[in-house]
Symmetry: D2
Subunit: 476 residues, 4 copies
């Protein structure tokens, strides 16, 4: 049953995760101001699912239960599901900057496929257990975070080669009740204000790394779990037009010999499938990143056009402005087109769900990581210094100076100074603040580094076909 935003917040209140932020333990996550923009952003995924105009985009019929579910918890049954998920991500992120909850979708679909594959090979029972979990998540309309990125230690060494065995999360014990895990998952987006943690391995493993080949789900407030968090957005900052309302927290999650019951374990030592599970998640997630950044792109395009106009420039007539905005659109829509193509050419897995075509999803991810810097460059270029030098809102209220500031800072005669400055503040907020830095850095390194995406493109591209074309042409 779909939750309302209010029910979502209430449901968080029923949980008691152990969360630290800025040196203190948080008493109630939904009441902690530093997380408020994060809670708000997730809430939008609940809100939009209930709005009739978004019904087709935001919801789907579970192939498992036949019940209506939030599309973010849906298993894709065809290419159109993939395309709708992409569109949904764009829709949510152009509202919130980053809605975070698409991570659930990506992990659920990866586990759907890979529990099936593991069972096929080893006769394990992971898939059925996962289906139970899936039904629970869908029916309760939960939000899960995805704990994938390990701390990794020395990047040139495999998990078992590290000087400390706990630099990747690992199984320290298996017993009747379940597995016991120890270590850390670093950079878990949105973690504090979610219901559940889904843990995935972070890379391909070898036999000696089998203790590190582990996947499971666990409530956010399970015993032994601690979160060390960062704030979501820029709560309380008057200049933060968007991100005082919506933001993203990340957390380091510490696992202090945590017991995970067997019914929530989805991989436990079958190292042969760690890479496959990681790769499957990455393929889904890179498509999500494309949609997310296209949503951010919509904001940047709209605000840049508005800013240019407030400055008196006609975006269709001032040559260099027109060309730069066309390039801005080129950047955004070209990576989005890779997402569309990846969806349309999506493929059925052996488990029966659909996965994006990997070459295009990786190219799209690679492009969005590079292009976000170009997007920032163009909007800064067109907006000019006002972006980082507009007066503070508080100064625009000082009786002595406010009239003059308001008068002198007007651009085009028919556009109020207020509007011009509010667009400048919005652009500062999303491209030149702490949050802007986060968007940039996370675009390039979240969801797989450029190097990781290039490796995947190379692995999946059909070189044999291309080389045989050349052999034929050269008469060989």
């Amino acid at each position: 049953m779909l939750k309302t935003p209010k029910q979502f917040v209430e449901s968080l209140r029923e949980l008691s995760p152990k969360v630290y932020i800025r040196g203190k333990q948080v008493k109630s996550v939904p009441d902690e101001p530093l997380f408020e923009p994060g809670v708000n952003a997730i809430s939008v995924t609940y809100e939009f699912a209930l709005e009739p105009e978004y019904e087709e985009t935001m919801t789907a019929t579970s192939h498992l239960t036949g019940r209506k579910v939030n599309r973010l918890l849906h298993i894709n049954t065809n290419q159109d599901d993939l395309l709708k998920k992409l569109e949904m991500t764009r829709l949510l992120c152009r509202e919130t900057g980053c809605a975070q909850r698409y991570l659930c979708h990506d992990a659920l679909n990866a586990l759907y496929e890979n529990t099936h594959r593991t069972d096929e090979k080893f006769g394990t029972k992971y898939h059925d257990k996962f289906l139970n979990y899936l039904e629970y998540v869908q029916d309760q309309d939960l939000t899960t975070c995805v704990a994938m990125t390990d701390a990794k230690g020395d990047r040139t060494k495999r998990p078992h080669e590290q000087h400390d065995p706990d630099l990747y999360l690992r199984i320290v014990e298996k017993n009747d009740q379940g597995i016991v895990v120890r270590g850390i998952k670093a950079i878990v987006t949105g973690a504090p204000y979610t219901h559940e943690i889904i843990v995935l391995p972070t890379r391909h493993m070898t036999e000696k790394d089998s203790d590190y080949a582990v996947s499971f789900a666990i409530p956010i407030d399970a015993d032994g779990v601690e979160l060390v968090s960062r704030q979501a957005g820029r709560p309380g900052e008057s200049q933060a037009t968007l991100t005082s309302r919506y933001g993203q927290s990340t957390a380091q999650i510490l696992f202090d010999d945590v017991l995970v019951p067997w019914e929530r374990v989805f991989l436990a030592g079958e190292w042969e499938f760690a890479g496959s599970l990681t790769g499957s998640f990455a393929t889904h997630h890179r498509l999500s990143c494309i949609g997310a950044r296209a949503g951010l792109g919509d904001m940047i395009i709209g605000a840049t056009a508005s800013m240019a106009e407030a400055n008196g420039l006609d975006i269709q007539k001032t040559g260099h402005v027109r060309d730069k905005i066309a390039d801005l659109i080129k950047y955004v829509e070209s990576f989005y087109a890779c997402g569309v193509t990846s969806s349309i050419f999506g493929e059925e897995t052996q488990a029966g769900n659909f996965i994006p075509e990997p070459v295009y999803s990786n190219i799209g991810k690679l492009l969005q990581g590079d292009h976000i810097y170009d997007m920032f460059r163009i909007t800064h270029d067109i907006s000019g210094g006002i972006l980082v030098a507009s007066p503070y809102l508080e100064d625009l209220e000082v009786p002595d100076v406010k009239e003059r500031l308001n008068r002198y800072l007007q651009g085009r005669e028919d556009i109020p100074t207020d509007y011009r400055l509010s667009v400048a503040r919005l652009l500062e907020d999303i491209t030149a603040s702490y949050q802007g830095g986060w968007y940039a850095a996370i675009s390039i390194s979240g969801g797989g580094s450029p190097e990781a995406t290039r490796l995947e493109i190379m692995r999946k591209y059909d070189f044999d076909e291309r080389k045989s074309l050349i052999a034929k042409m050269t008469g060989n």
Copy 2:
């Protein structure tokens, strides 16, 4: 009825166009060696249409007659037709470098839409006349060239403002039989070895330019038509692996007061629709350009990978080679993805045929124009100097030196020197010869300059929607 390649060549022999090349008049186009690679390239479009494995891609059922036609002469009736046309273009161009005949498709679809629009507005009868012509072209399985680009004179002036009224092709007379036209169409691809010329206007017109708002079809050997041509490819050159076989001619077509009978006239003075017809053709054609250059991209990717391997490098393991080839793929597949997306989001016109979504087709065209230079850069980088410094084939036959050359120029032990050098020659042929220069220059300026595509992106992008998003966000 589909022609065989042989029937195509025979049908050219029945025509007697007035063609000049290198200072001489051509006696028989299909027997002129300088055109042979061009005739061959078009022939492939006939050959592939008869091959069972390509049937679905290469042919379609005419919505007009219900008969099977070459897809290059088909009117698109849905998005899938657009996508298949894109795939067909890639298929043909990875074989031939550039198959040229897709221009027919683009012009036929543009005329289908715009004769209908013009009739709706003015009560003219262009659409029915065009349908007759279409049936003729489809049934005879003809190839038409498309004469669009005017000489343009001073680029800052409209047609009627030029110092000489004939710098754009124009109607000098209308009489009972038809219209009389004078002037030149510059840069007509493949013209000498086609059956018919379809003339389109080259730009948006104003009322004073109405004599220049003209579109019609006419046989290649009509009275008063003369072609001044350039050779197709590199006929007779021993180093030209691909382009001694397949190439592209361009021609300047002179119209010396040519009478066009009314039944072949599709626009004659209705200046309001010149821009619409130009734009519609451009939208279709930009999609074709994307497919064509993706086909060239397939060759470059395959040959670059083969070259790297012949040099002893593992494309998956040598870091910088792997990353550069991944970028090569990124360039090709990202503009192709824009083509796929433009097809999938194609729209029905008021005439009932389908046209590619224009923002994505323009972005794809813009990208392929920029990226072809990057593609050349990467393949030159990876291949090394051998690309332009391999011994001539004739020198590899000199008794005194051939054994040593063959021995010393081997790369990886298990790849024969012959193969290495033949790939080097192929890459030289397509990226560093006269033909390579043609591919590059035509990719950026053919089918619309970067500036023209940026203008179109800006015209068609929904800025109102994006700006309203910002107004809402900033509370305005």
Copy 3:
């Protein structure tokens, strides 16, 4: 006489400018915490001038008085002076992020040249008055801010065409004592903690704009002057390794019918020289921008290399890391090379001082504006998510978790976690915080937008010479 840093701060205390920040009026600028990082940054320019190892770089012998002066107040007498100024700027900014005071140098040199030119043409006495002012500034070792950027209103209109005559600062009255000016100068870097304001026109003017052709100097606390400021850096933020110590404020400066005595007026209505003065300042200042961003580049290069190593990567051996750091160096040193070349090819003005060669200084400025985004991209790519997701310093002190965080977040075994995290925080501070956004935005729009620099390149490049080469080659 060179001031010590302490004397500089004391001298600020003797002034009483009217400054607002965050809605309140500042009581004492050097005691306002929000300005402390700015005061510190300027102080470094005093400190380094007294250090023997920097003597040659940081000081010069005034050609006016023969006394030793801070090079930031020096009039360049040869190309070597220009080169040393460039090196000095790099040195100061790699310590402080942005030392701001180089603006004095740029304005003083521009006024030196243009007061002379104006006098030559009009027989005015600006140059002598300026020399008096220069001697005062040099002898007192002052810091001036440079108020150049006008609010500009509608960017498509000239000053006198604006709907409100005060959208550019203007002369509203001339009387026996001096001129009276009204309006605003927007985006004045470092203004609150300087001694003097030098006002320059912001653009080329026409005759009708002559009231806007105005330049003068005035104390920061002159009657009728008010500053609406923003904070310098990130004072008080525990994560802000660099910018809690050093930062840059900007201010809007309001001029409420301010009287400027004639001895401090350097241009008052001679509209013919507004563009020349603006251009001269811009040429000097673009060279300064190059040096400043090269200094920032030094930090980014050093920190990125350190971060890669802390992650276990050998920057000489891990292929993609090596290539990306090489590109990072390429970006920084190629724009710096334009600065060196601009200095070496510097030219003597008719006033006798030296000005950088303008084509190279503009190219360097253009490149640094574009490349800063590439620099951020590369450092984010190599550093990974830790850049924006490291635990807060306060959380690294929580007794319950600090040991585990310290243990798990180690990278290479022999590099302490502390060091790894401190480098991550530094990179976040300079590339992904409010201050990072400021660096990026100011790099592209401060000191002249990309469009302004392209215009200047085109104006100054010797096309006649290049075209005559072609005429000769083609036999014309």
Copy 4:
């Protein structure tokens, strides 16, 4: 004594090298039409040295003999020599496309330094022998080619690891008279029409490669030497405005157990100095590449500006054209600035000559290799399709059509059609012909691949200094 161009050609006639081209042995190199553009290009280096206006740039006083020599044979004695050499290269190449003879300079300077270094370490007598050779070359005003690039076989293996020991040129015997060498040097620019071959090793060697650590000089017609050549430019082609006059041949040089007398041997087994000699040559040569491509850049800038104007566009006023030409200048002058900076910061070697600063020369080389593709892109974009579709010269003479072609193809009214088309042909010649392909490919792979230059940048950059800055900043 400086030779005249005529004396240069005569001196070639006195030599009888064994040269093959297109399957035939050449009887007389200076009389072979396929080499004529190459001979012409070298001749320009003799011609300009005798022109008074170029005396300072083109000649120098030998520090060895005190006699006036062509600067291309001069040993640099200070930074100004380096800068003049750079300027000379630009001057020669803007006339000829590529003057080739600067290779002499680069090899002579590298041998000057490294024979000295080798002697210092091993007590050998190479330096004195080299000085004798240098005096001979200077006094006779010779041209040498530089045979450096080995065939290299499998790129992942060192010379001694190849499956065939002769894939790198090697010493097969040392005897009383000298050394005997066998193998091939691939890609030797300009070889057929030079007097002497200077052989250099192509890479760093290890002890097991000592037979491959070899450097010497030998006459072009020495016993056992054979050249398999390619044509220089586009001799005899009517469209080839520049390159029918000036061009560049490359050759494969076969060494069939060639005896090199000891007095011309400069390295013979001292593997420790192979890398140093290679590196020193590369550093000098990369500076030459910068100058050469800047000269080509001058042509492209001039022709692009001329083409735009012939099309009716004002390069200062048409926004997108202005911005693109500004970028064209940016590309050319930014790599040239790296060359200037590398010269100015040049360093004295232990042998006493001066070598360019390596970081900047490598960055400049890297940039010119990348940017030549951007230069081609921009000129193709601005010129439009006419670049590859103008009528052949022979067709412009056909009586029947020439008047109309001439009339219709005019652009701006006051610029003759002839001029417009001659500029189009020139641009086709240098950017879209066989020769254009050669320029592009050789810019990126000649003088060191991008990967080689990145490696060198990384080796030479002072990371310790940068990292210590960070350690200080972070309090470590």
